[in-house]
């Protein structure tokens, strides 16, 4: 966990993974049946 705290790149990557994971959940839970153009 220490490298996460000390490395800017590591911190960004964890934030990015959390964001992408949350976005994936949103798609699975709400969006996939309601999308159309």
């Amino acid at each position: 966990m220490k490298w996460l705290w000390e490395s800017m790149f590591g911190y960004w990557m964890v934030l990015l993974l959390i964001s992408l994971g949350a976005a994936a959940l949103v798609y699975v839970l709400w969006l996939h049946e309601n999308m159309h153009i």
């Binding site: 705290w5 000390e6 490395s7 800017m8 911190y11 960004w12 934030l15 990015l16 959390i18 964001s19 992408l20 949350a22 976005a23 994936a24 949103v26 798609y27 709400w30 969006l31 996939h32 309601n34 999308m35 159309h36 153009i37």
Partner: protein, 356 residues
């Protein structure tokens, strides 16, 4: 889940609120509104293309008025330049909305807007990368010569060519210290207006560089004058889009709600976090948004059969927004901790402003 009657679809309200919030929070750091993110994002979330463009256009005018008042107090507006450009901007918006309505009538508004957005966002990424690189190089050269770097740094000479165009009438913009043919200003207005009308954006991301590099105004005058144009293009665009049935007012309402909270938080955050840090992140996050829009475009063009393309389009687009918000919010928290003498990672202090 909310039923958007005009949009003809159901969508979770918080998607619109997070879109508004992100644009609001980012707008404070970058100077331009960030509307270029909204249209492709709404299409990725399932809104029809023309509704995405109309909704984006409608939520912009109000923001422009507030920001213009602030910039007028700061003396960043050249009214001669702004009013000369207004006619061109309105003509451009009209052409842009008509173009959008044409693509709507042939059922291609979604793919057309997505293609345009992909090109614009990728172009913006390249532009910010090249410009940052050139500015760094120039600063390095100037400091090597032993001179101090001024507030303004221009790396282009295009404006000198435009200022030498001898077509009457010639306009003297006293505040911006520019003497230039009226037609050059009108041309910039029309070109940026078409983009504003078609994509439903404010157009600041093109107009500010155009005012600086083509007209030759300073960046501060560029941003202030651009905001006046955004009020005009936003208000006129919103009216024309509403007349064309491209606006879902409920969607606009939820987005403005998010944008209001985001803008408030963004203006507080600017006093904690240094601008360049955010611009750097924003530049890379554009790649995520571009990928999202591109995947959605491929999904649409392949007959909406390959489900995982739509999945990854949402993951990249929404992920990029959440990432930007989390990043800015966490930097504000780190900044407050740093001020109170609590431990923060070593890389944080150069990115934040020590609050007093």
């Amino acid at each position: 889940m909310f039923d958007f009657a005009i949009g003809g679809m159901q969508a979770p309200i918080f998607l619109l609120m997070i879109t508004g919030f992100t644009v609001g929070i980012v707008g404070g750091f970058v100077g331009v509104g960030g509307g270029y993110m909204v249209t492709p994002a709404l299409i990725v979330f399932g809104f029809p293309g023309y509704i995405a463009s109309g909704t984006d256009a409608t939520h912009i005018a109000g923001k422009g008025v507030i920001a213009s008042i602030r910039h007028r107090q700061l003396g960043n507006i050249d009214w001669t330049l702004a009013l000369t450009m207004v006619g061109g901007t309105m003509l451009g918006v009209e052409l842009g909305v008509r173009l959008l309505n044409y693509t709507k009538s042939i059922g291609l508004s979604g793919p057309a807007l997505l293609t345009g957005s992909v090109l614009i966002m990728f172009g913006l990424f390249l532009y910010t990368q090249i410009e940052t690189h050139r500015a760094h190089k120039k600063i390095h050269e100037i400091s090597e010569q032993g001179e101090t770097v001024g507030r303004e740094l221009k790396t282009s000479k295009v404006h000198i060519w435009f200022q030498s165009i001898p077509i009457l009438p010639i306009v003297k913009c006293t505040h911006a210290r520019v003497v230039i043919s009226m037609w050059a200003i009108v041309l910039v207005g029309v070109a940026t207006g078409v983009l504003a009308g078609f994509f439903g954006v404010g157009g600041g991301f093109i107009r500010v560089p155009a005012l600086v590099y083509v007209i030759g105004a300073t960046t501060h005058i560029g941003v202030g004058t651009d905001l006046v144009e955004i009020v005009v293009s936003g208000a006129y665009g919103a009216m024309r889009q509403t007349m064309s049935g491209n606006v879902d007012m409920m969607a606009v309402l939820f987005m403005i709600l998010g944008a209001m909270i985001g803008a408030q938080f963004g203006s507080i955050a600017t006093s904690f976090v240094r601008g360049p840090a955010i611009r750097y992140i924003l530049s890379y996050s554009l790649i995520l948004a571009t990928t999202g829009a591109l995947l959605r475009l491929i999904y649409v063009l392949t007959g909406q059969k390959i489900e995982f393309l739509a999945f990854f389009a949402v993951v990249f687009t929404l992920g990029e927004m959440l990432f930007l918000c989390l990043f800015i919010v966490s930097l504000v928290i780190f900044s407050v901790r740093h001020t109170h003498g609590k431990p923060v990672p070593k890389w944080v202090p150069p990115l934040v402003v020590a609050a007093t």
